[in-house]
């Protein structure tokens, strides 16, 4: 089969309908201008995008801080922790979350990660339920009661087989949002782009150290979480696949060799 000939044939077929002299530049420029709503240059647009992103991030931090105020005021009695091992059978609720980190490429992930390792899941995730008590106010701002919210986090123990960046113990614990609540052990909740780990699975993980985090790690001890789903690469033989969703603007590493080469290239800078 002569592939070049066949490709040429299809090109000739299409040429009858799509001549060589088409120029899309004016139409593309018009669409870009229309999308921007002003005549600003792309460089300025990028700056505006960064500003919008920065303002958005600050707002998220501000909301998180407001949410944390009761914890600072009532520290010691707003959290209680119970443990339960998630069941493999039963119902599963999948949630969607927005991640603060927008890192996609290996370079971006490396810049944000405290620890980058190759590791295998050695123990099944253990779920702890963090209870958060927050006040209910009337329209005048007077406290009229309180409500308790439950947050399920699961901690999974990994056996580290290789450390690419940072300092790692032989075993590390990685936290995820989700798991099984004690009231319904047959029901599992997890994030769509960060499903709970299973024993035996092997990953390259780009991790952030959250040890001592008052919400995610109130029990103390060394604890990590992934930077975002882009920082979770499942190893399947020689191939790897990221958990990043809807990323079609960047070609991500598809093999273990490619991913490790990019990591090493970054660390050697």
């Amino acid at each position: 089969m002569n592939m070049k000939n066949v490709s040429h044939v299809l090109d000739m077929v299409a040429r009858d309908y799509v001549p060589d002299n088409i120029n899309l530049q004016p139409a593309i420029a018009a669409k870009i201008e229309k999308g921007k709503g002003t005549t600003m240059q792309p460089g300025k647009q990028a700056i505006v995008n960064k500003k919008v992103f920065a303002i958005g991030t600050l707002m998220i931090i501000a909301i998180a801080m407001i949410w944390m105020v009761p914890w600072f005021l009532e520290r010691g009695n707003i959290f209680s922790i119970r443990e339960v091992t998630p069941q493999s059978k039963g119902t599963k609720n999948v949630s969607v979350a927005s991640w603060v980190s927008q890192a996609i490429t290996v370079d971006q992930l490396m810049a944000e990660a405290d620890l980058v390792v190759k590791a295998r899941v050695s123990e099944a995730p253990k779920t702890r339920v963090v209870r958060h008590k927050f006040p209910i106010m009337d329209e005048k701002g007077t406290e009229i009661g309180s409500k308790v919210d439950e947050l399920a986090f699961s901690d999974t123990v990994f056996e580290v087989t290789e450390t690419y960046s940072g300092k790692s113990a032989a075993k590390i614990t990685v936290m995820q949002t989700g798991g099984s609540l004690p009231e319904s052990p047959n029901s599992k909740s997890e994030m769509s782009d960060d499903p709970l780990y299973n024993v035996g699975e092997e990953y390259i993980l780009f991790l952030v150290d959250i040890s001592g985090d008052p919400v995610q790690a109130p029990g103390g001890g060394e604890l990590y979480r992934i930077v975002n789903p882009s920082g979770r690469y499942r190893i399947d033989g020689k191939n790897v696949s990221s958990y990043a969703e809807n990323v079609d603007s960047v070609q991500l590493p598809a093999t273990l060799g490619e991913l490790e080469a990019q990591i090493k290239k970054y660390t050697q800078r």
Partner: protein, 185 residues
Amino acid sequence: MEDGQAISRLKRGDIGGLDFLVTRYQIKAIRTAFLITHDNLMAEDVVQDVFVRVFQRIQCFDESRPFEPYLMRSVVNAALNGIEKTSNGAEVNLISEVESFEILLMDAASVEEQVEFTQCKHEIMVALLKLSPRQRAVIVQKYYLDLSEKEMAQILGAAPGTVKWLLNAARIRLRTLLGSVRSLK
């Protein structure tokens, strides 16, 4: 100028970088979209939108990566999305129509007379129209863009085995049928 330089320029806000990429790839991109959509206007619209998206997301693009495969993948996806909005999604006979098309394609590749080639081109267009958008996307990726089956599976969101099975079955049948078709001429 190379693609990587154009992308770097575009990242710095220099629209000349985009102009370079549009000039370099627009014709192949429109033809790719046209072979899938069979609609000139939709094909042009699809490619315009893909380039606008390139412009909007260029900060995330790694310029050390080849640009053309990324662009063409985006065009195939956008063309499929575009046509799926207008079609009823009916799938024609999966194997037999692709086989017929491949026979025509191979015949056209071996034709030397211009008149006969013109006739073959017409038949190819008619045969392409018989295929579903996803089948056309398989043909275009395999025979026009020269993509691997793994890359095709990623774009189509199908298992690699599905794409492999489709193409292999067509090729085996093709070898048998090509012999009989040519012996009739």
